[in-house]
């Protein structure tokens, strides 16, 4: 056995052999394990929120929107999965004698709306020219207790006159969709009906991509191809830039604050090492007298502190991984009846991120090395005479 290993092994054993040293060492291990566990878990949840929110946006909204009334053919772009012409506007609605604001969205035809449960006979309905046919979402239907066949009043702002006016038309629910809209107050009608009833002349092209995360690149390709669309193309990442930045900032702030936990835990290793080295002062003096270099002794005591901290890192990482796996691979959150519908996302927001693991473990190890190195460095700077002198 080599000299360094011999000392590390024996001093490491001696820590856990005596109560005076083992209790502080165990406290250090627990403190570091809890810090690592908290940091990994909180950041994984924050990252989970980020991922889930992005998934929700990608699933609910087009990935690129182009504000134009003209027709374009984007089928030559391989990365574009589908594109549709639509329009969006806001109307007033009077339901159950209450006023509310709703968004109306134009679609190519009613069949293009996801999972429309049933529809009225539009031919029969079309006989009445003063009713705007709309499809509503399931949430809208529940919220206002309205279903197929129900009518209501819609108030359309008309800015074509010098003095803005409000035009009143009748709305008529022709279908209820299972679409889980982020916006509950959204009505769907066809582009044709919208033009006839609302007279809206600003429309959009909504594009869905095969890889939504390449939206910026595809946007630039579109602009490059159709120069007149510059300033009219916007992708989902740019629209939600502030939200994503805010979430990132929140993650970084939490990471910084929780990192202090690791720093505070590491101070326990610092004090343990001071205590251990002070106890072993005369032995260290003897080792130096026998020819041991101070640097090799600094390395020995640094490694002892490091191994104590490493146990905490391993325990914390292990338990954090177990909890993440339990949440992601089992229904434990559902079984615990934790209601997450408030956040408008499906499932508990937690993800396993190897990058986070890497940075958290690297940071912890660095802090542990520093807190183990400093006491050895400062105490072993003393001359050998003061190290071997007995303090009675």
């Amino acid at each position: 056995m080599r000299y360094g290993s011999l000392l590390i092994l024996n001093y490491f054993k001696s820590i856990f052999d005596s109560k005076a040293n083992s209790i502080p060492a165990v406290i250090s291990i627990i403190a570091i394990a809890i810090s690592i566990f908290s940091l990994i878990l909180v950041l994984s949840v924050m990252k989970g929120f980020d991922v889930k929110v992005k998934q929700k946006i990608i699933a609910s909204f087009p990935h690129i929107i182009i504000k134009t009334n003209k027709e374009y053919d984007f089928s030559r772009f391989n990365e574009i999965k589908s594109f549709n012409k639509t329009f969006e506007s806001y109307l007033g609605i009077i339901l159950n004698k209450k006023f509310d604001i709703v968004q109306i969205k134009g679609v190519k035809d009613f069949n293009s709306i996801k999972k429309v449960s049933s529809k009225l006979d539009l031919n029969k309905f079309n006989e009445s020219k003063d009713h705007l046919p709309v499809v509503v979402g399931r949430n809208f239907s529940h919220k206002y207790n309205k279903t197929i066949g129900d009518k209501f009043e819609l108030l359309i702002p008309d800015f074509t006159h010098r003095k803005p006016k409000i035009k009143t038309i009748k709305g008529y629910i022709v279908g209820v969709s299972d679409i889980s809209d982020v916006n509950t107050n959204r009505l769907y009608t066809t582009n044709k009906y919208a033009k006839d009833f609302i007279g809206h002349n600003t429309s959009f092209i909504e594009i869905v991509l095969t890889d939504p995360f390449r939206s910026k690149i595809v946007s630039n390709l579109i602009i490059k191809e159709f120069k007149e669309l510059k300033f009219k193309v916007i992708d989902w990442q740019s629209v939600n830039f502030s939200l994503f930045n805010l979430m990132k900032l929140e993650r970084i702030s939490l990471a910084i604050f929780l990192s202090f936990l690791i720093v505070i835990s590491a101070t326990t290793i610092y004090s343990n090492m001071i205590s251990l080295i002070t106890q072993k002062k005369n032995e260290i003096g003897t080792l130096i007298l026998l020819g041991s270099k101070k640097n090799s002794l600094i390395m020995v005591f640094t490694q002892i502190g490091f191994f104590v901290g490493l146990i905490g890192v391993i325990i914390g990482t292990f338990f954090a991984t177990i909890v993440i796996l339990l949440i992601t691979k089992t229904n434990i959150i559902n079984n615990l009846s934790i209601d997450l519908s408030f956040y408008g996302i499906d499932g508990f927001p937690i993800v396993f991120s190897a990058t986070y693991y890497f940075y958290i473990i690297l940071f912890s190890i660095l802090i542990i090395i520093i807190s183990s190195l400093l006491p050895s460095y400062f105490l072993l700077k003393k001359d050998v005479e003061s190290l071997i002198r007995r303090d009675y």
């Binding site: 080599r2 000299y3 054993k13 001696s14 003096g285 007298l289 026998l290 005479e385």
Partner: protein, 217 residues
């Protein structure tokens, strides 16, 4: 000449512990420095062992000034390997076995294989073969002194410096230890310097110096 001390003074704050010491030690000498407790024996041995520095005067260790040696850490480590130190202040490491304690200089110098035969000879000579796997806490003070002596000699040093080697030893153990030292001096021609106030020891040495009030006679 192995060691040469000229006009050496050591002072702690205002207290003069060693005053203008003159000392010459040659190869094969068996020297005892005697004096009462607090007379400065350990301080002088610490300087001779290259542990501490003098306030003034010169000390040449194997022809080189100790100040030069102490200024260069690697040089100091190599020079210390030529001295075997047996002192009550040099601890046995409690967590290591007696064998590992004796072999520590070999572990440190990464020369365990080279000292194996010396180790075996020493433990036989010191009659501690049966203690090899014991921990220091389980051995008597006489055995402890013999273990310290073995550790001091395991690298075949040119000089052995022992500070109060018979303290805490009964008559029989003390005489036994002295016999060992005399044997080593005669057989291996090791230079031995002992600080003691034990009459049983210094009468066995070839040269006796008396240290009193910081002066060496």
């Amino acid at each position: 000449m192995l060691l040469e001390v000229k006009n050496l003074t050591k002072q702690y704050e205002n207290k003069v512990v060693l005053n203008e010491i003159e000392l010459q030690i040659n190869e094969g000498d068996f020297v005892s420095i005697i004096g009462p407790s607090g007379s400065g024996k350990s301080t002088l041995l610490n300087i001779l062992s290259l542990i501490s520095n003098q306030t003034s005067g010169t000390y040449n260790f194997l022809g080189e000034s100790n100040k030069t040696i102490l200024a260069d850490y690697n040089y100091l480590i190599n020079s210390r390997k030529k001295i075997g130190i047996m002192s009550n202040l040099s601890e046995l490491i409690p967590d290591l076995s007696i064998k590992d304690n004796i072999l520590l200089p070999g572990y440190i110098g990464n020369c365990l294989n080279e000292i194996d035969s010396v180790y075996k000879e020493l433990i036989n000579l010191a009659n501690i073969v049966n203690l090899q796997n014991e921990k220091p806490i389980n051995i008597s003070s006489g055995e402890r002194q013999r273990v310290l002596l073995c550790r001091a000699l395991v690298l075949n040093p040119e000089i052995l410096i022992a500070d109060e080697p018979t303290s805490n030893l009964d008559e029989s153990n003390a005489l036994n230890l002295i016999e060992h030292l005399a044997y080593l001096n005669n057989k291996n021609n090791i230079t031995i310097i002992i600080a003691t106030h034990d009459q049983r020891i210094y009468t066995k040495t070839k040269i006796i110096y008396g240290l009193s009030n910081g002066k060496l006679n």
